[in-house]
Symmetry: C2
Subunit: 474 residues, 2 copies
């Protein structure tokens, strides 16, 4: 990567704020070897999975406790210096980039289970724990945490971006599955946003305000989440369709009939081809739905039969079953690897990922028009969708050294977002706003709602030190 | 009611704010006959279902559109005068009382459906529509809106208190079921808080911030909610237990096994007796679970069988079925009438209602200790619970003219809340804070979280005109 490219600042970005030596000294005294200014560590903490880039943070603090986070934030706050929470770096929208400089607080060492409450179907963990670590930790209880955004992200990061993924059609998103948080506020104070009660009408919903706030209102340090009983039976199926529209009608009818389908993913013909090549599969290279059913053995059977009937009626064929765990894992791994399959199809490329979500009645129209535009552009892409929720992702595969490719991809994304908004949808279903969708958010939310968000931001972070330059430009 | 009682101000209440004649004149000019200062209308809008009282608002505006609400708020804002949104008056926590005077904005005429989107399972309605009106309006689509707090409340009111009720164990609360709102802000501006997409990561969750804000951050004027397919089959069952504990263990095991039970309500022996007398039923006068199962015919059968086996194992007996709609309606009507059955058991009484919610693993302990305390106090009461969520209500039946009875009831409530908080529960599961739980909220949330809520309130309503004196004292 050329330096000019890798450090390209977004337009109108404010200057980086100075980080006084006094702060670095204070951090060194407080954190010793857990505070580093080594370039390699700073660079590692200054990027994510997006195609965006900025100069790295000025220092990295490895937090091992809530007290560590609170002290780091308090010290930064005393010097008016930005703090950027860091989990595993799997953000797709530039959330981790130090666009105004500052201190990256790495929470990945805060990965302990604090309490498992199996009878209540809840678990409280430190925010640096990843979703796979959580599931490993609770596996003996017969319970699991279903939210699966693909990446093995930390719970703190998943909260911050209001993540969801393939299981959301049945189990909801982080919005529905977080009961309470512990948060370090902009002045280094520690608060709790809720209790372990499954519902509450006691005051403003600070939990939901923090979920999706992308580190701009506080640093999440503990997370209490809902767990679910491991389904007695799981069955997965693949069905190919003559058109995207037929796959969409199958999805709509399935949802409308109240089938509690656990996953329903669209992969377009083009992407199936990449996946076949990458994962050595022989899936039919047609628009495909990849589905999963959870429940009792008889309920799973009934659900699958219903969907098979709907699909067959709409021209779906080759309804294939994956009944063993190995077969299911193979299929879902292929789905999760669609991103890597695509990246490998064009060596050296980066993916510019879209994230629109529309009411499902509009999904076929939205997809078909956007596919036509992408095909016409000549930019290669992949297309996958959590279609039960109306959310889908194009990944436009660009050569980062060819600015024109990036421009075309951004243009396609803009057209797609405009289309989604005109259909009463959103510019981001699950990745967040970050650096990449700030202008779209203004269009989507409108001036009044943005003013309200900014008023909240200003009230809770008057110095604008909490992950500044994300969600809002300044 | 003696005037001294009926106008008792809460301790430390600030003085009523003056309502300038200029504002009343401006409202009269703008709203004509839809603005009234008649005492009978003001009194009707100055009370709710709680045992609390305050002098009535200074005027009532009957809004017929969002523009009406916006103009009323703007005029009030220009004079620094409070506004209090009013739906049907079914609040239980004093939300509607004009403790600082001001203008009651009655939204009950805003009861139109704005758009039904059956394919997307959403409907958008004006905020003055009641939940029964919504269900009537969508009944031809094969869909329904499940949230049922008992009262036929307006959707705006249900949003404002983050209401839930008997179906929440399966379908969630208003928190999970509102997609987007239109809100009139404190300066009379109209904003939208979301889109019709089923999920979004685009900016702060203003929808969830408004849901549960009790009119203190804005007036909700439109509501977009999720609908659900009417279950193909519904079956209800009643089961009596030798003890509350056995009923609780049955509930916990049912939830833990992942049975998607739609309703599971506890009625204690004592309350069953009142219900029998009031609704002319012959239910066994023992702790009782009233349950409902939704799904396909075979799934409903399977769910019910599983629960029956669990219940029998734990000493439950007389598992009785209500298979016809008439029988089911009779049972649920009896449950909904528990409140009225109790009220009628002590002529002239009012109920002081509790609303704690605890993790279900602690529910039996919480209930048993609280029942013992209530029995020892000599104050009659009823006890019902949405036990699948850990939420239950004592209604202490007091004579409003005997201050000592109120004191004893408040003391019982205090002990109950302290117990719930010590069990990681909440002071309010679904009724809201209102005037009645402000001190409890401080204990529950802690100083830091309260400071954050107050900062948000101040940022969005700097004049403190939006339903002032609720949630926070001033």
């Amino acid at each position: 990567m050329s330096p000019a490219h890798s450090h390209a600042q977004p337009a109108n970005a404010p200057l980086r704020r100075p980080v006084p030596q006094a702060l670095l000294t204070a951090l060194k005294i407080r954190f010793g070897v857990n505070c580093s200014t080594a370039l390699v560590l700073r660079e590692q903490h200054g990027r994510d999975e997006s195609a965006l880039a900025a100069p790295p943070p000025d220092a990295v603090v490895f937090a091992e406790s809530t007290a560590d986070v609170a002290d780091a934030v308090r010290l930064a706050s005393e010097h008016g210096v930005p703090v950027i929470p860091f989990g595993v770096g799997s953000s797709l929208e530039g959330h981790l980039l130090a666009v105004q400089g500052g201190i990256s607080i790495d929470l990945s060492r805060m990965n302990q289970v604090l309490s498992v409450n199996a009878e209540d179907l809840t678990v409280t963990v430190q925010a640096g724990m990843t979703r796979k670590q959580v599931n490993e930790a609770v596996k003996d209880t017969g319970l699991f945490f279903p939210i699966d955004p693909g990446a093995d992200a930390t719970l703190g990061g998943m909260c911050a971006t209001r993540a969801s993924g393939t299981n959301a059609v049945r189990y909801g998103t982080m919005r529905e599955n977080v009961l309470a948080l512990e948060v370090v506020t902009a002045n280094g104070e520690v608060i709790r946003t809720g209790t372990r009660a499954r519902k509450s009408s006691a005051g403003y919903d600070l939990t939901r305000l923090m979920v999706g706030s992308e580190g701009t209102l506080g640093v999440i340090t503990e997370v209490t989440i809902k767990l679910y009983p491991l389904p007695e039976a799981i069955s997965a199926a693949v069905c190919s369709f003559p058109s995207i529209e037929a796959a969409m009608r199958t999805t709509i009818q399935t949802i409308q009939m109240g089938v509690p389908i656990a996953r329903v993913e669209l992969i377009d013909a083009h992407t199936v081809r990449m996946v076949n090549r990458h994962s050595k599969l022989t899936l039919r290279e047609e628009p495909m739905l990849l589905m999963e059913f959870h429940g009792s053995p008889s309920s799973v059977k009934e659900q699958a039969q219903t969907v098979q009937e709907i699909a067959t009626d709409l021209g779906g064929n080759a309804f294939e079953w994956a009944t063993t765990p190995e077969e299911r894992t193979r299929l879902w791994t292929a789905r999760h690897n669609a991103y890597f399959a695509a990246i490998q199809s064009k060596p050296g490329c980066r993916a510019i990922s879209t994230d629109t979500c529309v009411p499902i009645s509009r999904l076929a129209d939205c997809l078909l028009d956007s596919v036509a535009e992408a095909d016409a552009s000549g930019i290669p892409y992949f297309l996958v969708g959590h279609v039960g929720d109306g959310n889908f992702h194009f990944g436009y595969l660009i050569d980062p050294d060819i600015p024109q490719e990036r421009e075309i991809a951004e243009q396609l994304n803009q057209q797609l977002v405009a289309r989604a908004l005109s259909m009463q949808g959103t510019c981001s279903g699950e990745h967040g706003v970050g650096l990449h969708k700030m202008d779209f958010l203004i269009t989507e939310a409108g001036a009044g709602a943005i003013a309200m968000m900014r008023a909240i931001k200003h009230a809770l972070d008057p110095q604008n030190i909490m992950n500044p330059g994300k969600i809002f430009k300044f």
